[in-house]
Structure formats: structure tokens, C-alpha cells
Amino acid sequence: MKKGILVLVGLFVLLIGLGVFFAFRKPAAIPGKTVLTFAWWGSQTRHDRTIKVIEMYEAAHPEIDIQYDYAGNEVYWAKMIVQAAANNLPDIMQQDYATLGTSDSKGLLLDLSPYVKDSTLDFSETPEAFIQGGIINGRLLGVNLGNNSQTFVLDIDAFEKAGVPLPASDWTWKDYETTCMNIHKTLNIWCMDSNLGDEQIWSSIYLSLGEWIYNADQTGPGYTSDQPFIDFLNMQMRLQKAGAIPGPNEETEDNVEAGPIVSGKSAMTYIWSNQLIALWGAAGETRNFIMVPLPRAEGAVQSANYIKPSQFLSVTSGSKHPREAAEFINFFVNSPEANAILLGERGIPASSTVREAIRAMVDKIQQASFDFLDMIESTAAPINPPEPPGHSDLIDNVYWAQVLEPFYYEKDSAENLVPLLREKMPVILEENK
């Protein structure tokens, strides 16, 4: 009897032990293989294409075993923060331009420039400007996976029907207001959806004035006057009151495939250029769209557009196989075969060879986004440094909660609300340093 209990207890302890052992054990590595871990965020299309490229690479390099993990954007970052705290980040991780600086300030990323020097990473076909975005303080922390820019998509048919001329590529917000009102008056549809509150528009207004919302040492505002943004918001309110754009109660879907331009309820929308594929796909091939650059502020000195590296691949500082990781990244960005599968889903490839190689393979819709990037390449403003840590705090808790929402719901005037950004910025940047 007693023995029976002891045996039972013994078995039990053994089981728990085994359970704990297996739970904390790393997945088995096949002997003789180098294991690389790789994580990214994105849509199902991206997952499918990326996995195909991984399998292709493994077939060509039998000594490499790539273990991957993917998720949607928000879940991805929640996962990564936990893994970073556990010192367990993947070797290769996808980064956004906005997160590159934050991740670097935490010491998570490896400087890849030695691998550029020894040509493991081959940038001979890539314009310098497209590599620049991944360099912080002289260290290459991420390899650009493709280029993107913001754009206004215009429904050509609606413009023709309204008899409103298509805007010039250097149009201003004043031109936008006139265009918008004319379209609304003649067609009685919205001219734009409700997405212009986006903080990227705030930033683009100052970009066209040659300024950045943050100062160079990232301690406070870098713009001289609140007026341009106040003017912009007041213009939005005039349009909102005229019914030319949806009010806050008519807030439209932020999902590009369900936006009002798709159903013909509005004549324009504001998106990232790589989203055109999703938008046009949802609207149908027979529709006619054109992409134009963002409107500029009055007195602009340069374009309100910049070319943004859509995403990066970075090697983490804890990686045990940085060279192998760099080799894989090189394949990912420079191999025409890999990019024939990826097909610019992450943005227009930075390497000119790859870009030309896949240009012939893409359909008319994607051609349009290639053409748009070509068009703005020569005029685009230089890219600002990545946003400092504290940016998301400022945007969530001040920009949206205390400025834009109260403004659109007409609780207070732009003149009273906008200075709050300037006032709170230094405190928030200090707190998140």
C-alpha cells in the first residue's frame, strides 16, 4: 500500500519533470545544421510568399534550417517585446522604420556594415538613398525590403464626370480644398474619406516646409509654427461642415478594401502606395485610378512626400549566426528568383536589378505603383530620422485623444488644441527616453 503510494508519487514527479523539460527545451536542431530563426508580421499573402522563399533557400542551402514565426502587426510586437525581455529574439526580425530607432535604443540590433564591406550583403545595384533609411548613427541596423510612399488615389472617372481637372503633382492643401468642394458640389459624393487625421499627414505638412515634427536631438518640437497644422484642421472642418468629407459620426472603415472610394462613395483616398493593390483589387479591374503625391502646405519648399523603406530585415544582437543571417537577407533582397515570388508585396524592391526583373511580371495595377515611385523618386523630400521612443505615447494619448478627437467632434477649436502637442512633447520625450 505504502509502496504503491511512493511509486505513484515517483511517477508523478517524473511526469512533471519531463513536462517541464520538454516545455523549456528548444526545438530539436538537426545535427550538422545551422538553425536560423526568422519572424515577421503581415497578411496571409505575405506569409505564403515568405514561407515559399524560405523553402527555396533551404533547398539551395541544405546546411541551413530556418525556423519561422509570423503574426499580425500588433500581436507580432507584443510577442517580440516578451521575447526581447527573455533575451530570446529570433536571429532575423522584420522591423518598421518607426521601430528601428526604438529597438536600437534598447540595444537589440546588430550593426550589419561589416557584412556590407565584405560583400555578404551586396548593395552594388541599390541606390544609396534606399539603404540610408536603415542607417542610424553610422550603423546599418536594417536592410530595406522595399520602398513605399504616401499617396492620394484619385478616381479618374469621378473627376471626369465632375469636370474637375486632375491636380498637378505639386498641388497645395488650398488646391485640395477647391478640388474637394467642386467634386462634392457637382457629384454630391464625398471627395475624401475620414483618414486625413492620420499623424503622418501632420508630419507631411511640416516636411513640405522643410521641417520635422521633432527637433534633431529629439527633445521637443522641431517645427516653428503651429499655424500650418491649425490651417489644415480648419480646412478639414470647413469640408466636414459642407458635407464634402465624412464627419466623425460617419467615420468610414479604415480597412482600404472597404473604404468609400471602393464603392464609389468618395472620389479620393489617402493610402500607402503598396496598398493600391488591395484597393484596386477590391474595387475591380475596370475602375480607373491614378496616384498623385500628397498636397503641400502653403509656402512649401519641397515635396510633402518622402520615400519610406516599407520594412527592414534586421539581425538581432543576440544572434549566434549573424553571418548566415546576413547571407539569407542578401538572398531575400537581391535574388531575382526570390523576388519573383515576393513580387514587391512589401514595397517596390530597392535593388534596381530586381526591380527591372520583376517589372515585367507584375500586372497593370502593380505597374501603377512602380510608375508612381519612379515619378516621385526625383522630387521626394529626404527622409526624416525614425521617430523617437515616446512617439506612440504622444500619438495615442495626446494627438488622437486630446487634439484630433475633440476637434472633429467640435468640442474645441484648433487654435486651442494644437498648441497642446508642442506643450506635451518635451515631457513625453523625456519620460520615454
Partner: protein, 314 residues
């Protein structure tokens, strides 16, 4: 065994046996104990420590004393909006849900036929009610082009912006929460079944009508169960998160920015784990105070049969 040492051994042996019994007990408890320490006690202590630090999840936590709490109460307008939204939600959703649960329990209690089936059917929403799937469906139903406006249009009523109008948004979430009346309903039902039938029979003989029986017998005898349900639902009410996270994201004008949603935004979107931990501890305090007040109030309205008897004897 040595029989000669009988007077000495039993005590020792008993003690040894007891020790062995205890050991076996702990071993069998160990799965729970491990879980309790690893997933409850240690994280709680860690979070208490983090509440006094600045911690972005990666870099070493930096001790900043009570700065997080000071900021929360003096320099964070969103914090108060989140408290306000959560209190508003709890204040309306919990009583409404209990009323619905009680009404259904009455109906089920009075109709004997098919009770089991109805009980199951009524319980189903509680299983799916809190899920992401239902929240997504809710978002579609109350969206500007959703089912609700479509149906209203059929009656010639102009469409409303249920989810983006600051006056209505929180009510759509409260309405969604009413779905989850299942578990209080079952508890009420058990409570109703526990009320002795003789009391009703005696009351009937004395000529009490249905209403009198309800207010003089059923409700008083049910108050301990109502009290239990109230406390449980109150605690659950403060923890509301999923619905707002999926449906409104806290908008419009922060009217649905529930406490836990704001905590999540601070912790996982803005990477301010220290601040989020401080918020979590204040929430614990708020829930504790709300529960304590409910307990205090129970002296005035909860009826305990045994206590009444004591009073009668005294």
C-alpha cells in the same frame, strides 16, 4: 515490528506518518502550487516592484519612486476618462445583467417542462458572449452600414452612428455584455430551488397573493444569492476589455476607453510597463474598495436566516 516498544512508537510513528501524509499531499498539490507561484504570486510581486519603476519591457527597470502614481492622478486626463468609462459600464451593465438573469431564473423555475434544454440554450451566449467572434459580429451589426440601421430604415427611422457617437457607443457595449447572464442565472436558479416550498404553502393559506409571496418570501430569501452574484459580477465588470478592444478601441472621445484597455495601450503599445503596472495596482485597490462597500452594504439588505433566528432567541 518490535512489539515491546509499543508505548513509545505509536506517537513517533503517527508523527512520521503525518509528515509523510503531508508530503504526499503537497506533491499532489504541486501542479497547482507551481502554477500559483509561477503565474500568480511571482508576477504580482514583480508588478508591484515595476509599478515604482520606468520599464519599457527591455531595458533595466529604473526606480522612479511614486512618479507613476503622481502622473496618473495629476497629469493624465485619459486616465480619468478610463476610470469614468469603466465605472459607467459597471454601474449599468452589472445590475441590468443581474435583473435579466433573475427574470430568466424565475421563468425557468416556474416551468418545469424542458427546463434542462432552456437552461442550456440560455447559457450558450455566456460561453460565446465574451469572445472575439461575437465582438466582431457586434461591430458589423452596429456599424454605420450595419444590420441595425438596415432594420431601422425598414421602419422609416433614420440611421444612427451607434459606435461613433459618444452618446451611444458605451451603450452598445453594455448591451453586448447583457448577453452573458448565464452563470448568474444558474446560480439564481439554484437559489430559487433552495427556498422551502412550505413557506409558500403557509403563505398561501394565510391568503398572500403572488406579489406578496415574491416580495415577502422569494426576494428576502434570495438576497444572499443576489449578494454573491453582485460581488462576482462587480469584479468581472471592472475587468472588461475584449469588447472595447475589438469594437471601438476606446473611441469615440474615450467614452469606451475601459481601464484595462488603457492599461493595455500603455503597456503593450507605448511600452510603458511600469506605468501599466502602477495602473493595475490602483485597479486592484478600486475593485477592493467597491467589493468592501458592497459587503458593508450587505448588513442593510441581505437576509440571513440563521442570523435572524439568533436575533429571535436573544
Amino acid at each position: 515490528m518490535n512489539r515491546s516498544s509499543v508505548p513509545a512508537l505509536p506517537l513517533k510513528k503517527r508523527r512520521k506518518n503525518r509528515r509523510q501524509d503531508n508530503l504526499v499531499g503537497y506533491v499532489f498539490l504541486s501542479p497547482w502550487l507551481i502554477g500559483f507561484f509561477a503565474f500568480t504570486i511571482i508576477p504580482m510581486i514583480t508588478s508591484l516592484y515595476l509599478a515604482f519603476t520606468k520599464y519599457d519591457g527591455v531595458r533595466e527597470p529604473e526606480w522612479i519612486g511614486i512618479a507613476n502614481f503622481v502622473k496618473m492622478f495629476t497629469d493624465d486626463p485619459r486616465y480619468f476618462k478610463s476610470v469614468q468609462a469603466t465605472l459607467c459600464y459597471t454601474f449599468f451593465a452589472v445590475p441590468l445583467r443581474l435583473v435579466i438573469a433573475l427574470l430568466l431564473a424565475f421563468i425557468l423555475n416556474n416551468h418545469r417542462r424542458g427546463t434542462t434544454i432552456y437552461r442550456t440554450i440560455f447559457y450558450i451566449p455566456s460561453i460565446v458572449g465574451g469572445s472575439i467572434g461575437v465582438a466582431v459580429m457586434w461591430k458589423e451589426i452596429f456599424g454605420n452600414d450595419g444590420l441595425m440601421n438596415f432594420v431601422l430604415a425598414g421602419f422609416g427611422i433614420p440611421p444612427a452612428a451607434w459606435l461613433s457617437d459618444p452618446r451611444t457607443a458605451i451603450w452598445t457595449l453594455i448591451l453586448l455584455s447583457l448577453w452573458q447572464f448565464g452563470s448568474p442565472m444558474l446560480i439564481f436558479l439554484a437559489g430559487l430551488k433552495n427556498i422551502p416550498q412550505e413557506l409558500y404553502e403557509a403563505a398561501e393559506i394565510d391568503g398572500a397573493d403572488g406579489f406578496a409571496r415574491l416580495t415577502r418570501i422569494t426576494i428576502p430569501l434570495l438576497t444572499p444569492v443576489i449578494f454573491f452574484n453582485l460581488v462576482m459580477q462587480l469584479i468581472g465588470g471592472f475587468m472588461v476589455f475584449t469588447q472595447a478592444f475589438v469594437i471601438t478601441g476606446g473611441a469615440p472621445l474615450d467614452t469606451t476607453l475601459f481601464y484595462n484597455l488603457y492599461l493595455y495601450i500603455r503597456g503593450f503599445r507605448n511600452f510603458q510597463m511600469g506605468y501599466a503596472s502602477a495602473m493595475a495596482w490602483i485597479l486592484l485597490l478600486i475593485v477592493a474598495i467597491a467589493t468592501a462597500l458592497t459587503f458593508k452594504s450587505s448588513n442593510y439588505w441581505v437576509f440571513y436566516e440563521d442570523r435572524e433566528k439568533d436575533r429571535g432567541q436573544a
